[in-house]
Amino acid sequence: MRHIISVLLENEAGALSRVAGLFSARAYNIETLTVAPTEDVSLSRLTIVTSGTDAVIEQITKQLNKLIDVIKVVDLSEAAHIERELMLIKVRATGKDREELKRLADIFRGHIIDVTESTYVVELTASGAKLDSFIQAIDAGLILETVRTGVCGIGRGERILKSLIRANCRTVKEIP
């Protein structure tokens, strides 16, 4: 099963490699990983898309929690959430393809953000699956380059992942 795990961690040198190293050392799978500082620059927020059995996902969250730099871990996919990914895709745009690609970008609510005589760069923000279908919709021979950020996600409504800068901020999941 595919899971989106959000991690709040200290924005410190090496913190990211601790997370990445954990996944490779314990043979967990990473589909995508994104990381950037939050509104509080001392914290980074990391989103990992992974897959595994329930037991594996339980271990992943426990092992992440065990890292000293990790403040909070939440499996976003356990409840209502939104996920988005940004893609920049450079396509060969000449002749009749120019019009077709423009139309396709519009359908997917993408923007053409760079135009030359022979190329477009389309910016598209959507779920990962939708980005995949955009790629599918284009003639493969026209794609020159794609770059994707990986998934970032957030819980819906009042579900908030924030550090309570108090003593007992570390959540340890106890299985009922």
Partner: protein, 570 residues
């Protein structure tokens, strides 16, 4: 407030932490620190002969005492040599602070002389590590290092300090306590879960207690013993947990696992309620997890590390917490409810266990002219009155020591259970001997393992450590030979060691006492001579033992616990 250099700050922090011994080896990047060490006399530095031994010795000191072990190594090769020691401590959750020098900040990343990415190399085998690039962060980082190493599930912490930081100056302020928003280990167990556990224990028809290294690391042996006696249940201690419950007690079934006793393994396998305490259902303990899980039994698991719970075996009642706190709470609930297990039900279970015990699976055949290694262990136990600190290396001798030396108290048995590092025995004994000068310290080893850190005989001489080395010399890498005999058609590929040194002369060359013992009747007199006559000397006893002796019982790798191979020739 006076200004101090980074080097002075490091030493001051160690003093504040009441560190008595630092094991280390100097080099370019730590020269400032060694200079600061020279100018004080509170902390004693033990100069080892190889950095790996520095970390092992600090580890041995920590295992034998519940203190944080401290090692000091230089950058580059100093740090890489320390890695095996760090990984060994990590696998067995031993609290260590390892200070490594680093090239100056301005040189980092330039492939400078003796530069390596210490933080990167050690990352997967430490509880946490730090690179301190600013002297103002040094004291607080040292405080964090000690706090992290010795709280929660303990483990090694590396503090990597560039040389310029040890020369830079700042005011020294050492925080008394530390708070980290990202690190707050759970101590008290969940009361509801503990209640559920106690209920299960009281209802059990075939209960079993299985405790591991966590019971010792948390100083929970006393509570474990009280709870076990209060319930009257059978108990087994893992290799890492030996001594948490008295090894001579009737309720103790011996060690479980690959070389565990019949009674311990069958009781683990056939119990209906298993109380696991500070143990991790390791592959050497439960064998095949699918086979183990195929029988219906309820498992209660007490551990301070949530990630240990339901890792290899699905657990029914998880309790995250510190072992002594949780067990104390269990005892309180039992007393409050004035509850005890049904004695008749328990008697029937004990009857079954006694039948298993009657098989006497540890029996071995004595030989007239060849020393049996098991016999040496039995005699070692007798001669030391069961009161020695026993360290071991890794292999057959380790298993025989664990099987035949009965540990009645915790922190008396030091070995590398998790990583299985050959060569730890002698440095462990050094750490233990320094920490406990009043106690007898025996290092049980083999001719393979001892040569992996043999250079430390020199350190032992310099610091006059009266360690007794029991070398079970069968001219083979015994455990490898045993597996080759059993599973590889007796093709002894590279397990025979030719050209062994004359260990007596070797010991004498280092200034110690050497003995060679070849006959069974000489075993006990030699041990007595070593422990009594040569009480204050390091004695290297080279016991020439039976080359064919194998460790039994044995559960082959990947097999179920009930699938034991017993001594073939009895």
């Amino acid at each position: 407030m006076t200004m101090m250099t980074g080097a002075e700050i490091v030493i001051r922090c160690l003093q504040e932490e009441k560190v008595e011994y630092v094991f280390g080896y100097p080099g370019g990047s730590v020269l400032h620190i060694y200079d600061a060490l020279f100018k004080q006399d509170q902390i004693k530095h033990i100069l080892v002969r190889h950095e790996q031994a520095a970390v092992h010795a600090a580890d041995g000191l920590a295992r034998s005492s519940h203190k944080v072990g401290v090692a000091l190594v230089t950058s580059g090769p100093g740090a890489t040599n320390a890695v095996t020691g760090i990984a060994t401590a990590y696998m067995d959750s031993v609290p260590l602070v390892v200070i490594s020098g680093q090239v100056p900040n301005a040189y980092i990343g330039q492939d400078a002389f003796q530069e390596c990415d210490t933080v990167g190399i050690t990352r997967p085998c430490v509880k946490h590590n730090f690179l301190v690039n600013d002297v103002h962060q040094l004291a607080v980082t040292m405080k964090k290092a000690f706090y992290i190493a010795n709280s929660g599930r303990p483990g090694p912490v590396v503090v990597d300090i560039p040389k310029d930081v040890t020369a830079a100056k700042c005011k020294f302020e050492y925080p008394e306590t530390i708070q980290m928003r990202s690190y707050n280990p759970v101590i008290k167990g969940h009361l509801g879960q503990i209640r559920k556990a106690v209920h299960l224990l009281l209802e059990a028809k075939r209960p079993m207690i299985y405790s591991g290294g966590g019971a010792i690391l948390s100083n929970g042996a006393e509570q474990l013993t009280r709870l076990t006696r209060r319930l009257g249940f059978p108990i087994t201690n893992t290799l890492m947990g030996l001594g948490a419950y008295p090894g001579t007690d009737r309720q103790f079934l011996g060690m479980p696992g690959m070389h565990g006793t019949v009674e311990a393994n069958l009781a683990m396998q056939h119990c209906d309620v298993l109380l696991a305490i500070g143990a991790r259902f390791d592959d050497r303990v439960i064998g095949n997890p699918d086979n183990f899980s195929s029988l219906p039994r309820k498992i209660i698991h007490v551990d301070i590390d949530p990630s240990s719970i339901s890792k290899r075996v699905k657990v029914d009642v998880p309790i995250v917490g510190n072992v002594p706190d949780v067990l104390e709470e269990m005892l309180r609930l039992l007393d409050a409810g004035n509850a005890s297990p049904d004695p008749e039900v328990l008697a029937a279970w004990w009857h079954e266990i006694e039948e298993w015990r009657a098989k006497q699976c540890m029996k071995y055949r004595m030989k007239k002219s060849i020393i049996m290694p098991q016999y040496v262990m039995e005699k070692l136990y007798e001669v030391t009155g069961g009161k020695a600190i026993v360290t071991s290396d890794v292999g057959q001798h380790q298993m025989w020591a664990a099987q035949y030396y009965k540990f009645d108290e915790p922190r008396r048995w030091l070995n590398s259970g998790g990583l299985g590092t050959m060569g730890v025995g002698l440095p462990y004994a050094m750490g233990a001997a320094l920490q406990h000068p009043e106690m007898q310290v025996a290092c049980v080893t083999g001719e393979g393992s001892i040569q992996m850190c043999i250079q430390e005989l020199s350190t032992a001489k310099q610091f006059r450590l009266p360690i007794k080395i029991i070398n079970l010399n069968n001219r083979y890498l015994g455990m490898v030979r045993q597996w080759q005999e059993m599973f590889y058609g007796s093709r002894y590929s590279e397990s025979y060691m030719d050209s062994l040194p004359d260990f007596v002369k070797l010991a004498e060359a280092y200034g110690h006492v050497g003995m060679r013992i070849e006959k069974p009747e000489d075993v006990e007199p030699a041990l007595r001579k070593a422990f009594i006559e040569h009480k204050d000397d390091l004695v290297f006893m080279d016991f020439i033992t039976d080359q064919k002796a194998n460790v039994f019982p044995m559960v082959a790798a990947g097999k179920g616990l009930a699938d034991m191979i017993l001594t073939e020739d009895l």
